[in-house]
C-alpha cells in the first residue's frame, strides 16, 4: 500500500501485487549475484550486503505493485540498497566526507540507471570475488554450500531448505553463522592470491559438484533424483565457467554435469525404482545436453593444460553419453581414464568404478580380483557400492549364493529406500 495524492492509503490490486512479485523474482534470479557483489564492494562486507539487498527486495514488494515495475529492476534494487546503507551510516553518525561523496555518486547513478547499469570492466570480477568468498575455507562445507546458493544463486532459505530436505530454520542459522564467520575472520573481498588459487578454485568447484550431486545421488530419503537442485548447480557451474574461461577444470565440471544431467529422465522408473546405466533407455537421454557437454569438454581441452580430475570424469561420462548401447561403449578407454583418474585423485571409489569398467572390458574374473583387493584393504568398509558390485560380479561368474549374500549386505548398508528395494529384488531374482 502507498499513499495517493490526497494522502489516503490505496490498497494495491492483488493482481498487481502478484505481477510485481513475479517480476521481482525474475529480476532477482538474473541480477542477485551482481547486486550483492556491487553492494559488497560498496559496504565492504558480504553479510551486510546481502541483508541490504533483502531490504531492497522488501521495498520493491511494497512499491512495485502501485508504482509499476521499473525498467531496470537490478539498478533499482542496488540503488535502494545503497541508500539504505547510507541511511544506516547516517543513523550511526558516521556520515563523514567519504559517505557524503558516496551519497552524491548514488544520485548520479540513479539518473544514469535507465541505461546500461553494470560496469562491464568490474562486475564480472566482483561476482567472481563473491564466488570465492562464499566458498572461503573459514566456512564449513555446509556453510559454503548454503551461502553459495544464497548469494551467488539467489535462492531463498526456503528454496535451499527444500533442496536439501532440511528445516528452513537450519538453513537460516547456517547462513547467519556463515556471514558472522566471514565478518569475524575479516575475509577480504578478493580473488585468492596465486599461491592459494588452485586450492581455492578446487573448493569452489567441489561445492558446486556437491550441490549437483545432492540432486543426482541423494544419500538418503525416498526420492532418487531431485533435478531442480542439480539444474541450479549446473547453472551456477556455467556462471563460474563463464567467469573463468581459462580454467579447464571449470569448463570440465560443466561438461561432467551436462553428461550426468542428460540421463536424469531415465534414471528412475515411474514407481521410483532406480534404473542402472546398462538398463536405461538411451533414446531418452537428452541429446542437446550431451552436445553441450561435449562442447564444454572441447573448450576445456582447447585451453591446452591437459585433463585433471573433472576433465577425466567428464571424459568417462562422455564415453557413456555417446555410446548407442552398453556393449558399444568404449570400455577399454574408460578403464584407461579411470587409471589416470586414480593416479591424480586416488580414491577407493574410483578403484571400484575402474573394476566395473574392467568387468565390461575384459570380464568379471579380473574385475573381481580388483574388488577383492579393495575389500581386503578395508577402505570402503560400510560403503554399499562395494558389496553391490561384488555381488554383481559373483552373479556373472555363476557364484549365485555368494552373490545373494553380497547384494543383501549392500541393501542393509544403503540409506536410500529405492536402492535397497532394487538390490533386494536383484538378490531375490538370482537362481537358487
Amino acid at each position: 500500500m502507498s499513499p495517493d495524492a490526497s494522502g489516503a492509503v490505496v490498497p494495491a490490486d492483488p493482481a498487481d501485487v502478484d505481477r510485481a512479485r513475479r517480476a521481482l523474482a525474475a529480476v532477482w534470479r538474473i541480477e542477485s549475484a551482481r547486486i550483492v557483489a556491487t553492494l559488497t564492494r560498496f559496504v565492504g562486507d558480504v553479510g551486510q550486503a546481502e541483508d541490504l539487498a533483502q531490504e531492497a527486495m522488501l521495498e520493491a514488494l511494497h512499491q512495485w505493485p502501485t508504482e509499476g515495475v521499473p525498467r531496470n529492476g537490478g539498478a533499482w534494487l542496488t540503488a535502494v540498497a545503497k541508500r539504505r546503507a547510507i541511511d544506516g551510516w547516517r543513523r550511526r553518525e558516521r556520515l563523514d566526507e567519504r559517505y557524503a561523496a558516496m551519497a552524491r555518486d548514488l544520485e548520479e547513478e540513479q539518473r544514469a540507471a535507465s541505461g546500461t547499469f553494470w560496469d562491464p570492466d568490474t562486475i564480472d570480477d566482483d561476482v567472481l570475488r563473491l564466488v570465492f568468498v562464499a566458498c572461503h575455507p573459514v566456512l564449513s562445507r555446509e556453510a559454503q554450500i548454503a551461502l553459495t546458493l544464497r548469494i551467488v544463486g539467489g535462492l531463498s532459505s526456503e528454496e535451499i531448505a527444500r533442496a536439501f530436505l532440511v528445516p528452513v530454520a537450519t538453513i537460516q542459522q547456517r547462513i547467519v553463522r556463515a556471514k558472522k564467520t566471514l565478518a569475524a575472520a575479516n575475509v577480504p573481498f578478493e580473488v585468492p592470491e596465486p599461491q592459494d588459487y588452485a586450492a581455492r578454485l578446487g573448493s569452489v568447484l567441489s561445492v558446486l559438484y556437491l550441490i549437483f550431486n545432492e540432486g543426482y545421488l541423494p544419500a538418503s530419503g525416498e526420492q532418487w533424483v531431485r533435478p531442480d537442485v542439480s539444474a541450479e548447480a549446473l547453472r551456477l557451474a556455467r556462471v563460474v565457467a563463464g567467469l573463468m574461461p581459462r580454467e579447464p577444470e571449470a569448463q570440465s565440471l560443466v561438461a561432467l554435469m551436462e553428461f550426468h544431467a542428460s540421463r536424469f529422465s531415465t534414471r528412475v522408473a515411474r514407481d521410483g525404482t532406480p534404473i542402472p546405466l546398462d538398463q536405461q533407455d538411451r533414446t531418452r537421454w537428452d541429446r542437446g545436453q550431451i552436445e553441450r557437454g561435449r562442447a564444454a569438454l572441447a573448450r576445456a581441452d582447447r585451453i591446452g593444460r591437459g585433463r585433471a580430475a573433472y576433465g577425466l570424469q567428464a571424459a568417462i561420462a562422455e564415453c557413456h553419453a555417446v555410446a548407442p548401447a552398453v556393449e558399444d561403449t568404449d570400455w577399454p578407454r574408460i578403464v584407461v581414464l579411470y587409471e589416470a583418474l586414480g593416479r591424480i585423485a586416488p580414491s577407493p571409489v574410483v578403484e571400484l568404478n575402474r573394476a566395473v569398467a574392467v568387468a565390461m572390458a575384459t570380464g568379471p574374473a579380473s574385475a573381481l580380483r580388483l574388488v577383492d583387493e579393495l575389500e581386503r584393504n578395508g577402505r570402503l568398509a560400510g560403503y554399499p557400492g562395494l558389496p553391490a558390485v561384488r555381488g554383481e560380479l559373483l552373479a556373472r561368474l555363476g557364484r549365485t549364493s555368494e552373490a545373494r549374500g553380497e547384494l543383501e549386505t549392500a541393501a542393509r548398508l544403503t540409506g536410500n529406500e529405492r536402492e535397497r528395494a532394487a538390490l533386494l529384488a536383484k538378490a531375490a531374482g538370482l537362481p537358487r
Binding site: R22, A26, I30, P227, A231, R235, V239, G242, R284, P324
Partner: protein, 153 residues
Amino acid sequence: MARTTKETTMKYMLIMRANDEGIAAYQDLDFNEVIAAMGAYNESLIKAGVLLAGEGLADAKEGFVVDFDATPPVVTDGPYAEAKELFNGFWIIGVSSKEEAEEWAKRCPLGPGTRLEVRRVNELEDFPQDNEWIQKEAKWREEAEGRLGAASE
C-alpha cells in the same frame, strides 16, 4: 517425480520475427554495431548460465516454403509474398519461470518492426510416455543426431 523439474527449470524458445519495416531498418544499421549488440546479448545469456541453444537464419531467399493446403503440397521459393513476418532466428534458454523468460526477452537488442515470440519448449515428460509414436520419435531423434554426431567427427 517428473514434474519437480518444472519448479525450477523450464525451457523457453525466443523466436525472432521481422516484418518488412524491421528488415528495412536492419539493412540501414551498421552491421558491426548489430553484431556487437547481439554478441553482448548472447554473452549475457551465457554468463547467466541460461543459454541452451541458439541460431540465426540465412536470408529467406535461400529458403522455400512447403504449403500443405494442396495435396501433394506446393513448394514455393522464398521469400514468399504472403509472409507478413519472417522468422530470423531463435534462442532456447533454461529458466525458472515465465517471468524470467520475459525479462530475458525484453533485453534482446531489437528494434521497431521486429518482435520475439516466446514459447515454452515441451519436455518429453509433457507427453504420455506409453504412446508408441512418442517412443518412436525419441528413437528417430537419437538416430538422426547420432548420424550428425558421427559426421562431425
